[in-house]
Symmetry: C2
Subunit: 142 residues, 2 copies
């Protein structure tokens, strides 16, 4: 990559990360923090089944995670049931409330995306999408 191109990508990367929220206030109008909604997402969409898997993926303290999960359970977003195959483990699953909340979060994130794309032509959208595809494939490989 030549210097000009590097610079464009750098600008984009800074731009993208700058649009994200910095502090941990409630996320997209739901009663969840950024971490909590990420946990719901990983449990449901990425099929992570135990606290241990979440710790490995997200690189957070297991003691802290234990408490966050307990709080999510108390507030009715998830269920934790002891795994009969390994009684040290607890299997994680979303409740109906958890599902609904995750759906709300996704819907709102999608609205943001819609707005982002609302003025592009079909051809431009096509190009953006295939570009995103490249990046995503590359990162998933490494």
């Amino acid at each position: 990559m030549d210097a000009d191109k590097i610079n464009e990508v750098r600008q984009f990367n800074r731009f993208y990360t700058r649009t994200l929220q910095l502090t941990n206030k409630y996320h997209l109008g739901t009663g969840l923090t950024v971490l909590e909604s990420r946990l719901l997402l990983e449990i449901y969409e990425n099929k992570l089944r135990t606290a241990n898997e979440l710790v490995a993926l997200l690189d957070i303290d297991k003691g802290y995670l234990s408490r966050v999960l307990k709080s999510l359970q108390k507030r009715g977003y998830i269920e934790q049931t002891i795994d009969d195959a390994d009684k040290r483990s607890k299997l994680l699953a979303l409740t109906t409330l958890g599902h609904n909340t995750l759906n709300t979060i996704n819907k709102r994130a999608d609205q943001q995306v819609d707005q982002l794309f609302s003025d592009l032509s079909d051809q431009e959208i096509e190009q953006v999408i295939s570009a995103m595809d490249f990046i995503q494939k590359k990162v998933n490989l490494s």
Copy 2:
């Protein structure tokens, strides 16, 4: 946009936000938190001159910001001088250390981007960049 396309973009958006760090550990190997490095960036690259402007942009508590800025000053990253035109305000500026640190952060972020793109063909890179360009223009307008 039809449903399939929306879905692809949604996936990308979730993917991108998921690659970002969730907790506030030291950022890219420097002695700064994510918020602190963002502050340096906004002061220098976006030319924000007062705490008040930072509060408006980032939507953070002004009391908390006041303390973070004091800490950045104490550690030698910024200077705060009283604005003679309005003695309630303090003008913010990076010190040499602040500049150097911001450069380091940018350099490391760029290395990550380099790696991200290292396996793409020239044509692919071209496409990704123009895609990013579209998005960025769109968002800057809205």
